[in-house]
Structure formats: structure tokens, C-alpha cells
């Protein structure tokens, strides 16, 4: 049955995740072997340096990667479901552009308040989502309306970003790392608690609303026929998607493609209903981001390739594959 298939995929992903985590701890500029790893985990005497590396660097990084993976892929899954469009993602919907604009404005006009950047990012992303919702939900065809509003809003905020960078040529250096997206800016595990609450909260709420969101994907008339208030549910799902993505932006910057690729693959393997592919999204996203981070740390060691660049390299061809497949199916 479909549940068995999903569970098998989840098992496989769990194994991949553990392997990625172990390799992530063990490899890098400071190599460890397995016995050292266990000693460091248990914080045994004589392994203080390794413990420090593990607990202050690698573990937080793994946690950050997991959160980013879950947050972005759940956000993408929700957005693709409610818009009925498999190219929807937090980027396309302008959530990232809104956060980016607030971030670059902060860096340029209030550089002394740079410690507020997580809050600013979150507010920017969430406010953008609300703007898109307010405009898109009111249009006669909300499913397309939200996408169009997202495209429009992205354009506006990208223009804003360009304007700020033209007025202040120094800000680009600081903004650059944010705009690519990566896990190297994480400031310890405690800074990840609030995003974690948002991201796991969104995941749980999405699982509860999974079948309702599926009904919504059939269109407003069908959803209403099934006893759902379409506009209200759309607003809730969009808010969950926004909260999830915004939380990730606040510590990982504008990490693209995860919210596009992972839901797509999850749907193709586990099935169309959200209750089947959401868990796969969450775990798959975590694996993807953590694995990409690991590769990024190894490929040009001791320098690091941010996750965002790896995702762009993998993601851009992915768009073409999706479009190519769509055009091929359309011929039928």
C-alpha cells in the first residue's frame, strides 16, 4: 500500500541522514576517526579540542542544516499544493526577495543593528507573504493569483535591492553571503531555538491540515463542496509556508532550490497526497541540505562552498528537466 512505500522511503532517508551526519562530524578541516568521534561525543578527557569542534561547530551546523532542509521543503510542498503548480517555491513567491530587501536595507542604513538581522529577515519574509496573500487571494483565480502576486512582489523587492546596492556600493560585500545562502553564518545552537519552534510547528500543523490542503488543490468549488472555506485555508497554509521559509532565511540566508526540488521528488516517489509526501519532504530536505553542506566543506577545503551555490548548480538544470518533462507530457 502507499503507506508502506512512504515508510520504506523514510527508512532509506533516515539511513542516509545518519551517514551524512557521521561523515559531517568526522570529515572536514579537522579529521576524526570513529573512535575519536565517540570519545568527543561523550566528552571524555583528553578529547577537549575534538569535543569543542563537535559541539560548537559541527553539531550546530548539522542542526542548522536539518532545520533549513525541513523548513524550506515543507514550505515548498505547501505552496506547490495550494497553487497546484509544481514550480512554486518560497523564492518564486517573493518571500526570499522580501527578506533580502529588508536585510540589505538593514546592512546599508542601520549597520550598527546587524545583530537584529534574524528578526529583520523573519519580519521581511513574513510581511511579504502577507502582502502576496492579501493581493493574490482576492483575485478571481486565487491559485494563479498568488503566483502572479509573488512574481510582481519579487520584481519590486529585487528592484529595491538593486537600488540600495547602487546607492551604497559597499553593502554588496556584506550582502553577498546572505544572498547566496549557506550555513556558515550560524551563531551557535541557542540562536536556532526560535526558528526550530517555527519550523517544527509548521511541519506538525501542515500534517494535520494535509488532507484539507489536498482538497484545496482541486480548486475552490471542490474544496467548498467538501466543507472547507477555501480562502481561509489558503491563508493559513500560506502563513505556515511563510513562517517556515522566513525562519530559515533568518539563519541561512536566501537558500534557493531546496523548496523547489525536494517537494517535487517527494511527490514523484511517495505520492501526491500531502500526508504521504510531506514527511518525505522534511527528511529529504534535511538530507539534501546537510549533504550539500558536507560536500561544500570538502570540495575546496580548507575554503567552503556555500550550500546556496551547490543548490544553484543542481537546481538550475532541475528547472529545465521539469519543463522538458511537462512539454513532453503535453504532447500526449
Amino acid at each position: 500500500m502507499e503507506n508502506t512505500r512512504r515508510n520504506r522511503i523514510l527508512l532509506l532517508l533516515s539511513v542516509l541522514f545518519v551517514l551524512t551526519a557521521v561523515f559531517g562530524f568526522v570529515l572536514g578541516s579537522a579529521q576524526m576517526d570513529i573512535s575519536t568521534l565517540f570519545a568527543a561525543l561523550l566528552q571524555k578527557e583528553g578529547y577537549e579540542t575534538q569535543s569543542l569542534i563537535l559541539y560548537s561547530l559541527r553539531l550546530p551546523r548539522l542542526f542548522a542544516g536539518t532545520l533549513a532542509g525541513i523548513g524550506l521543503s515543507v514550505s515548498g510542498a505547501l505552496l506547490q499544493s495550494i497553487t497546484g503548480n509544481e514550480l512554486a517555491s518560497p523564492n518564486i513567491l517573493g518571500i526570499n526577495a522580501g527578506a533580502g530587501f529588508c536585510m540589505i536595507a538593514l546592512l546599508s542604513f542601520f549597520p550598527q543593528a546587524v545583530h537584529l538581522s534574524p528578526v529583520v529577515c523573519f519580519v521581511g519574509a513574513f510581511a511579504t507573504a502577507l502582502l502576496i496573500l492579501a493581493v493574490g487571494n482576492r483575485l478571481p483565480r486565487p491559485k494563479t493569483g498568488i503566483l502572479l502576486a509573488g512574481v510582481a512582489v519579487t520584481a519590486v523587492f529585487n528592484a529595491g535591492i538593486s537600488l540600495v546596492s547602487l546607492l551604497d556600493t559597499d553593502v554588496l560585500a556584506a550582502y553577498r553571503f546572505f544572498s547566496v545562502g549557506g550555513l556558515d553564518g550560524t551563531n551557535g545552537i541557542s540562536s536556532l531555538f526560535l526558528p526550530a519552534i517555527m519550523i517544527f510547528g509548521s511541519l506538525i500543523a501542515s500534517l494535520v491540515l494535509a488532507s484539507r490542503a489536498d482538497a484545496l488543490s482541486l480548486g475552490d468549488l471542490h474544496a467548498a463542496s467538501l466543507g472547507i472555506r477555501p480562502a481561509r485555508l489558503r491563508a493559513v497554509c500560506l502563513a505556515l509556508a511563510a513562517a517556515s521559509a522566513a525562519a530559515v532565511v533568518s539563519f541561512a540566508g536566501l537558500l534557493g532550490f531546496v523548496g523547489l526540488i525536494v517537494p517535487h521528488l517527494a511527490r514523484k516517489t511517495a505520492g501526491q497526497p500531502l500526508r504521504l509526501h510531506l514527511p518525505v519532504c522534511a527528511l529529504g530536505g534535511a538530507v539534501l541540505v546537510c549533504l550539500s553542506d558536507l560536500i561544500g566543506r570538502l570540495v575546496i577545503a580548507p575554503a567552503e562552498l556555500p550550500v546556496g551555490i551547490l543548490m544553484a548548480l543542481a537546481g538550475a538544470p532541475f528547472y529545465f528537466v521539469v519543463l522538458f518533462r511537462r512539454s513532453r507530457d503535453a504532447v500526449l
Binding site: G84, L207, V208, L209, A210, S211, R212, D214, A215, S217, L218, G219, D220, L221, H222, A224, S225, L226, G227, I228, R229, P230, R267, G271, Q272, P273
Partner: protein, 252 residues
């Protein structure tokens, strides 16, 4: 069963429906006919809670506007004219049909599961139940959504032009299934059809819309006696006997 009392619908400045008064009887098959733009679809849409109307709609004696969406969904279901291109399978659609009876995040009970099985069987989709709907042909897709409506198992089932884009073979099959809903499952079925011949030969009751209001609501016999086809559509009617001896009405 379903009463419209002075129902009007305005969309912007345009009057979509004006002072509709009609009674749709219980456990019968009623077909709504009318020219394009006469308000047929809007009449059905009023029952989804998405359309603002003035006047009263009574569903089994209860005011529709007083019902919560969930309760309403347990009493009445609508199959819209345009069916979405979804990757869900027929089985998954039928499972969604039980949504009005489940709590958020709730699981299907044994009786829910049985209802889903029966619905798939009713729609004759057992062989295709695990195929994504966007890979099905037009007629199969219609039956997939019929399975969903059957799983929702409401006393009142509405269909908005379900046969509009089906070939003659599938039209007959589908109408036969709707007939079965009314006869075998004692449901009240309401269909909007544009083909007058199919309408009159399938229906027990007819409702005619013309110029955004209801001009006729009565039995098939009354429809033929009053020659409504002539006054509304400018069509002549005649009766023919088919090889089984059953009388069929033709319009030309």
C-alpha cells in the same frame, strides 16, 4: 428537499439570477436546462457557500446560510463543470470525499473505508483506481470524480454539466450512473444539462431557466404538455418508440 425562495445573485452590476422560486423534490432526478448564460451554474454554486445571494435557500427545511460548511458538506455535494488536472488517484479522491466527516488530521474509520470501496465500485473504477487522474481519459476522469461524490455520500448530489465534453457513449454511461444514485441509493440528484434530449429522457423533474430566472419547475410530463421546448428553445418535440418499446422524446 431543496427550496429556492426569491433567490437573487448579483455579480458586480450584473444580475446573474433574479427572484428564483423553485422546489426540487426529494429522491428524484431533477434536470436544470436553459440557454447559456441563463444562470444554471450559478443556481448550483449558491449551494457551495462561495456565492452571495439574497433570499432563502432551504435544504431539507433548514436555512442554508445557517449551516456550517462542514454540516452543509454532509448534506450536499457539487461536481463542478471544470474538473481539475490533478495527480491524485481515484482512490485518493474517493478518500478525500470523506473529508466532511473527519476531524482535522483525523483517520478514516472502518465504515469510511467501506464507503470509499463502495464508491469506487459504484463508479466502475476498480481497475483504474490507482492511476493518477491526469492520466485518465475524459470519461474516466468524470467517473473518478463521480467516485468522490459517491464517497461523500450526501442525500443531495449536484452535477454541473457533467457530460458537456463527453462522447455519446460516455454520456449514456454517466447518466445511467446518476440515475442509479437516485433510484438505488435514494438520493436527490440535480443535474445541469445543455442537451435537451438527454435531459428530458433522463429526468423525473425539470427546472428551466431563461433570462436569469426560473420559468418552469415541474414534472417531465408537465414540461412536455406545456411545450416548454418551443417557448424557451424554439424547438419542436416528438416522441419515438425505441426497439424495446420504450417511448423516447426527440427535439428538433
Amino acid at each position: 428537499m431543496l427550496c429556492f425562495e426569491n433567490v437573487s445573485v448579483l455579480r458586480g452590476r450584473k444580475t446573474v439570477l433574479h427572484n428564483v422560486n423553485a422546489r426540487i423534490p426529494k429522491e428524484k432526478l431533477t434536470v436544470i436546462v436553459g440557454k447559456n448564460g441563463s444562470g444554471k451554474s450559478s443556481l448550483l454554486s449558491c449551494l457551495t457557500g462561495l456565492v452571495r445571494y439574497t433570499g432563502k435557500i432551504l435544504l431539507d427545511g433548514e436555512d442554508l446560510s445557517a449551516l456550517s460548511p462542514r454540516t452543509r458538506a454532509q448534506k450536499c455535494s457539487l461536481m463542478p463543470q471544470l474538473l481539475p488536472d490533478t495527480a491524485l488517484t481515484t482512490r485518493q479522491l474517493a478518500t478525500l470525499g470523506r473529508e466532511p466527516y473527519l476531524a482535522p488530521g483525523g483517520k478514516l474509520s472502518q465504515s469510511d473505508r467501506e464507503t470509499v470501496e463502495n464508491a469506487i465500485r459504484f463508479a466502475r473504477m476498480e481497475d483504474l483506481q490507482d492511476t493518477p487522474v491526469n492520466r485518465l481519459s475524459g470519461g474516466e476522469r468524470q467517473r473518478a470524480f463521480l467516485a468522490m461524490a459517491a464517497a461523500q455520500n450526501t442525500p443531495l448530489v449536484l452535477f454541473d454539466e457533467p457530460t458537456a465534453h463527453l462522447d455519446a457513449d460516455h454520456v449514456g454511461c454517466f447518466l445511467q450512473r446518476v440515475r442509479a444514485l437516485a433510484d438505488e441509493q435514494q438520493k436527490t440528484a440535480v443535474l445541469v444539462l445543455h442537451d435537451l434530449t438527454a435531459a428530458v429522457n433522463t429526468a423525473d423533474y425539470l427546472l428551466v431557466t431563461d433570462q436569469n430566472t426560473c420559468v418552469f419547475c415541474g414534472t417531465k410530463e408537465e414540461f412536455l404538455q406545456q411545450n416548454m421546448a418551443q417557448s424557451v428553445f424554439n424547438l419542436h418535440q416528438t416522441a419515438v418508440c425505441d426497439p424495446d418499446g420504450k417511448e423516447r422524446i426527440l427535439f428538433y
